[in-house]
């Protein structure tokens, strides 16, 4: 049995007329936050609008919520609109419960 964890998530990016779409997939937990923050910061630096598509995300935790909210706030300070779209199932439920769904979407 491996003693190290491979990444539990992946992403791809696409440019659209208005900006960037960052599609995340898999499970994002505490292990993902540093890389996610870098990813979001990079997208925000390049675009006026960044959409983070959560259609294929199956798990997020409070550290990931922190990362998304912090990125949303940092984007706003740079006149960039960062939104989160298509949360599903339990991910949507957690964003709703914590009150951040409306802020982020």
């Amino acid at each position: 049995m491996s003693t190290t964890n491979g990444p539990t998530w992946r992403y791809d990016t696409a440019s659209t007329d208005g900006g960037q779409v960052l599609r995340l997939a898999g499970e994002l937990d505490m292990d993902a936050t540093a890389a996610l923050r870098d990813l979001l910061d990079g997208a925000v630096a390049r675009s006026a609008a960044v959409e983070v598509d959560l259609t294929e995300v199956r798990f997020i935790d409070s550290t990931v919520i922190t990362t998304l909210v912090a990125a949303h706030n940092a984007a706003a300070r740079r006149a960039c609109r960062l939104t989160v779209t298509n949360p599903q199932g339990h991910v949507r439920r957690v964003l709703e419960l914590t009150g951040v769904l409306r802020t982020l979407t």
Binding site: T3, T4, N5, T8, E27, D29, M30, D31, F59, D61, S62, T63, I65, T66, T67, V69, A70, H72, N73, G89, H90, R93, V94, L97, T98, G99, V100, R102, T103
Partner: protein, 170 residues
């Protein structure tokens, strides 16, 4: 939230050892963790909780709540800890013990929507139920507990919150 009341006493734990569970309870999972093993432990908790009869939303809620206790120990409790999953009389309990610096006050109020942090223990309470946090001389013990009906796809869960401004009584 109940502080200092219902958690099993952990202050007589030998270093790295296991406490003896209460009579009639069954330990489903017992493991130490650190940042490198937290995700793998989360998956193990999910598998064990499912075998114990949690399913659907209840299972996902419980697994996230347990993981929030784990990350809380990692981030605020000295970087590591030990998790035990136990079943007793239809109740599934997840207890996380750390040997960190302890805490001054327990932030179980939900932060504002635009506040980046502070939601971990709130989620543990809201999703896990019966969050109990005990401050020991050498660290913190945090636990959650849910009622299980004993079959997969379990029916309505019972969540009892005591004295918390952020929760609701079902």
């Amino acid at each position: 939230m109940i502080v200092g009341g219902l958690a099993a006493q952990a202050d007589d734990l030998p270093a790295g050892g296991c406490e003896v569970p209460a009579a009639g309870s069954e330990t489903l999972l017992s493991a130490s963790f650190d940042p490198q093993t937290a995700t793998r432990l989360r998956h193990a908790v999910a598998a064990a909780a499912a075998r114990a009869g949690l399913g659907g939303d209840q299972l996902e809620d419980f697994v996230l709540a347990a993981y929030e206790l784990v990350t809380n120990a990692i981030r605020h409790g000295g970087g590591a800890g030990r998790l035990e999953l136990r079943r007793h009389d239809g109740t599934l309990t997840c207890e996380v013990v750390d040997r960190g610096p302890g805490f001054d006050g327990l932030p179980v109020r939900l932060p504002a929507a635009d506040s980046p942090g502070g939601r971990g223990l709130w989620l543990a309470q809201r999703l896990g139920g019966n969050l109990t946090v005990t401050s020991r001389p050498d660290g913190v013990t945090a636990s959650i507990a849910v009622r299980v009906t004993g079959s997969p796809g379990a029916a309505a869960r019972g969540v009892r919150l005591a004295g918390d401004a952020g929760g609701e009584v079902r």
